[in-house]
């Protein structure tokens, strides 16, 4: 720890350029932390080390602090662990990432109420009744230097952030390039001007072109790994991947109300990075979350096959997403035996541990049939598990080298209409590996498939799938 502390001292000390007349403004920036709870003790140690040398360092997040770890995302109140870590570390401000909206307006309102730091977004309109605490900008006094930080949230092609439309009901958004000029006056009043954005590197390049009077853009969303920082049209841009592979320490030298030099360096976060004790204790607390042991339902009988567990999972998804048919790859089921008894949240997270999300498509019977065959081929010649339809699969030989014929039936035993359109769900892994022709590729949702199963079991309460299967296999050499 001592050695690391000294290296940070050297790192920060080197950022002094010897100008006696000006002031140095330092910014430690993060982006797309995505519930990286395990790295919070290391981030805390880094911030502590820098603050020991420069207590006025600004600590900023460019958003997407949450979504990526059930220990954070399933906590009630949602994202409380990440917020507690950010409070402990002493973040000064955060942009709103598109995933900050994942728990709807109510969830975001709770998050903003619990945070000791300010959320910044100039291009969002939140009616007061939403309870969301967000302001367009904040001006920080850093050793007498006025540092203005303007927040920008991501707005996709639908005119809302990339999240389910239900998550942003009552909120309205404007495109960044429309709103930023309205804050030109702010830039004229501040010595240092920073855009804290969650719009992606490519859009940030455009913003740097359009608004060169900003000194710096703390970028996010595209998970772009920049080496230190890049200067485009005079604007310094920083961004670091996903879940804190690095953070960026930016040094701005300010003279007579103007930034006269700027530089940025990455600080890597890896196994060799020291950990702050207080944050480690907090991590231990959150890893013992009672939510994981919470009973959500009951298996009335043992389930002793992958097939039966897979059918249950597909039934849950089909029901929760109001689909005609759901299917998944055989390898998507991670338990072979599930004993009768209580089912906990942790059980389902172990059964479906991949953080997959649903892809919902509209397919004809023929497109579905082609997709199931494509799944068989891509998943090491294992036929997928289905709900809402059953299958008779005839293989060319006993080694299941290829499918000779595939017959699909609805739940009433009638042959599936090859021309009729069905609402079909699978997970993003299967949707990716099935490269069969289909008009509608579908859309990937934000809720994990495990969360869908948990919600379904909470609803049905008791589950009995012993002996269930969704297809019959026939070997035919003729």
């Amino acid at each position: 720890m001592k050695k690391y502390f000294l290296s940070i001292i050297a790192f920060v000390a080197l950022s002094f350029n010897g100008i006696a007349t000006g002031e140095t403004v330092r910014i430690l920036s993060t982006n797309d932390m995505h519930s990286a709870l395990e790295k919070m003790p290391q981030l805390a140690a880094i911030v502590d080390s820098i603050r020991a040398i420069d207590p006025s360092v600004l600590v900023l997040s460019a958003g997407d602090n949450r979504t990526g770890n059930p220990y954070n995302d399933r906590y009630e109140p949602v994202s409380y662990p990440m917020i507690q870590f950010m409070n402990l570390i002493g973040f000064d401000a955060s942009a709103l990432g598109n995933h900050e909206y994942d728990s709807k307006v109510e969830g975001l309102a709770k998050m903003t109420a619990l945070s000791n730091f300010q959320y910044l977004a100039a291009n969002i309109t939140c009616p007061p009744e939403t309870g969301i605490h967000v302001v367009p900008y904040k001006v920080f006094d850093v050793k007498g230097v006025k540092v203005g930080v303007l927040g920008i949230t991501q707005v996709g092609t639908l005119g809302i952030p990339d999240t389910h439309p239900d998550n942003v009901i009552g909120l309205s958004f404007q495109q960044p390039e429309e709103i930023i000029p309205q804050y030109k006056w702010l830039s004229e009043q501040c010595d240092v001007n920073i855009l804290l954005t969650h719009v992606g590197y490519e859009v940030d390049l455009e913003l740097a072109k359009l608004f060169p009077y900003y000194d710096m853009i703390v970028s996010s969303h595209s998970h772009t790994q920049l080496e230190g920082g890049e200067i485009h049209n005079g604007v310094l841009i920083t961004q670091n991947g996903y879940q804190l592979p690095r953070v960026t320490l930016t040094t701005l030298e300010v003279e007579n109300g103007k930034v006269v030099s700027k530089s940025a360096k990455n600080i890597f976060i890896d196994k060799s990075t020291p950990r702050a004790d207080a944050a480690d204790a907090l991590l231990k607390h959150f890893k013992n979350s009672p939510e994981m042991e919470r009973q959500i339902g009951f298996f009335t009988t043992d389930i002793s096959t992958y097939d039966a567990l897979g059918v249950m999972m597909c039934d849950a998804w089909r029901d929760e997403l109001a689909c005609d048919i759901a299917f998944e790859n055989y390898g998507g089921v991670r338990y072979d035996v599930f004993p009768a008894g209580p089912i906990t949240v942790k059980d389902i997270l172990n059964l479906d541990p991949f953080m997959n999300t649903a892809v919902v498509m509209t397919l004809t019977g023929k497109e579905l049939s082609d997709m199931l065959i494509a799944c068989f081929k891509a998943d090491r010649n294992r036929f997928p598990i289905t709900s809402g339809c059953t299958a008779i699969v005839t293989y060319t030989d006993s080694n299941k080298t290829d499918i000779k014929t595939l017959q699909l039936f609805d739940n009433d035993g009638r042959a599936l209409d090859m021309k009729k359109k069905y609402r079909v769900m699978t997970n993003n892994y299967v949707a990716s590996i099935c490269d069969s022709p289909r008009k509608d590729q579908g859309e990937r949702g934000t809720e994990t498939t495990s969360d869908l199963i948990i919600r379904w079991i909470e609803k049905v309460k008791t589950v009995d799938y012993q002996g269930r299967n969704s297809f019959i296999e026939v070997w035919n050499n003729h």
């Binding site: 092609t157 992606g200 590197y201 998970h223 993003n428 990716s432």
Partner: protein, 66 residues
């Protein structure tokens, strides 16, 4: 949506991430799915993108076998 990979279009579902695109790329090019860990994705400027990075319609990326 369509993503331009190594100058060729690949159609994939909306909301796909880089990891999804890698799987589709591997299947299309008849690569072992396990080999996707050997593939690296960069944006059009050569910056590394991780598997959770979101993709947009008409985005240009490069996939290289490392």
């Amino acid at each position: 949506m369509t993503v331009i990979v190594n100058n060729s279009p690949i159609r994939i579902f909306r909301g796909a991430k880089v990891g999804d695109l890698l799987l589709r790329f591997a299947v299309r090019n008849k690569l072992d799915l396990k080999s996707v860990t050997q593939l690296k994705v960069t944006d059009r400027w050569g910056h590394a993108l991780d598997n959770e990075a979101p993709l947009n319609d008409n985005q240009i990326v490069q996939i290289i076998n490392s």
